[in-house]
Symmetry: C2
Subunit: 180 residues, 2 copies
Amino acid sequence: MGFWKTWFSTSESTATTKTAAFEEISAEAKSNSSPNSDASGTARIVFSTERDIDLYELEELCDAVGWSRRPLRKVKKAIEHSFLVASMWQVRGNQRRLIGFARATSDHAFNATIWDVVVHPDFQGKGLGKALMKYVLKKLRSEEISNVTLFADPHVVNFYQTMGFMADPEGIKGMFWYPH
Amino acid sequence: MGFWKTWFSTSESTATTKTAAFEEISAEAKSNSSPNSDASGTARIVFSTERDIDLYELEELCDAVGWSRRPLRKVKKAIEHSFLVASMWQVRGNQRRLIGFARATSDHAFNATIWDVVVHPDFQGKGLGKALMKYVLKKLRSEEISNVTLFADPHVVNFYQTMGFMADPEGIKGMFWYPH
């Protein structure tokens, strides 16, 4: 079980100091997103770990990618009990628009599992999904999480592979159980 | 550990209540475990969601199945921040022995992920792993969790399939990322 060992024994990593809730995007993704900047170049993409998200705005984002609606009461609870809540915003002057979201559950020590990764269709294909995931991974690393997992739909397996995720490493299978 | 006091002062014929942290095993698994009962038949298998587990006893259990050791500080943190902590005990008179363990992370709303499922080698092959998993699933269902996931090593994929878990449903892939 060399694979499990790899991350079970990865115990200590450098803790980084807590940064501001909002952070501007990396230069790389910023340039990719430039078609969305206005003529004066004032539109920016920022990230946040702030979990006080407008649930209706989040629902709108999820609607835009065709996800099934979920009871807001449960979405609220899930956000409250997620280890990490990451959001991506387009900011133009004093206006901001929620354009991406992801969250992770965790035991705060070894494992984190990323759920609900979404980028608004208007902002897809610009490297913003990658930028959002980089932000999420950076945050999880800063919390000493040594094993980051997720469950990828078939059409995004390649995307996550380019981010360094491995499918079924050493034959380890992601498995699901649903109540009957 | 006040509950132990309660439990030990309870007569064997007393039915367990829903709220009790300790629950006796189902008849099915009990009969499977009979080879471990002493001549007078007083050895019993009980389950608990009590998270005040002796970390050295847990380490001993994990050692017995050959897992890599993990810093106890992190194990403690992981247990504190798990949504569910399930343990399985052999009880003989006023002696108890930790023979199984599992835990789950969760967002308390939609998803739970089961980690660290372990049954002591002396107690494997008696249906106790299945009993432990049934206990875990029952607990998760009672909390309205609608999606239970785990990552299974190749040699236990079949075991989880018999429990109703599906590998890669609709092509959804379990993926891993760990710091370089």
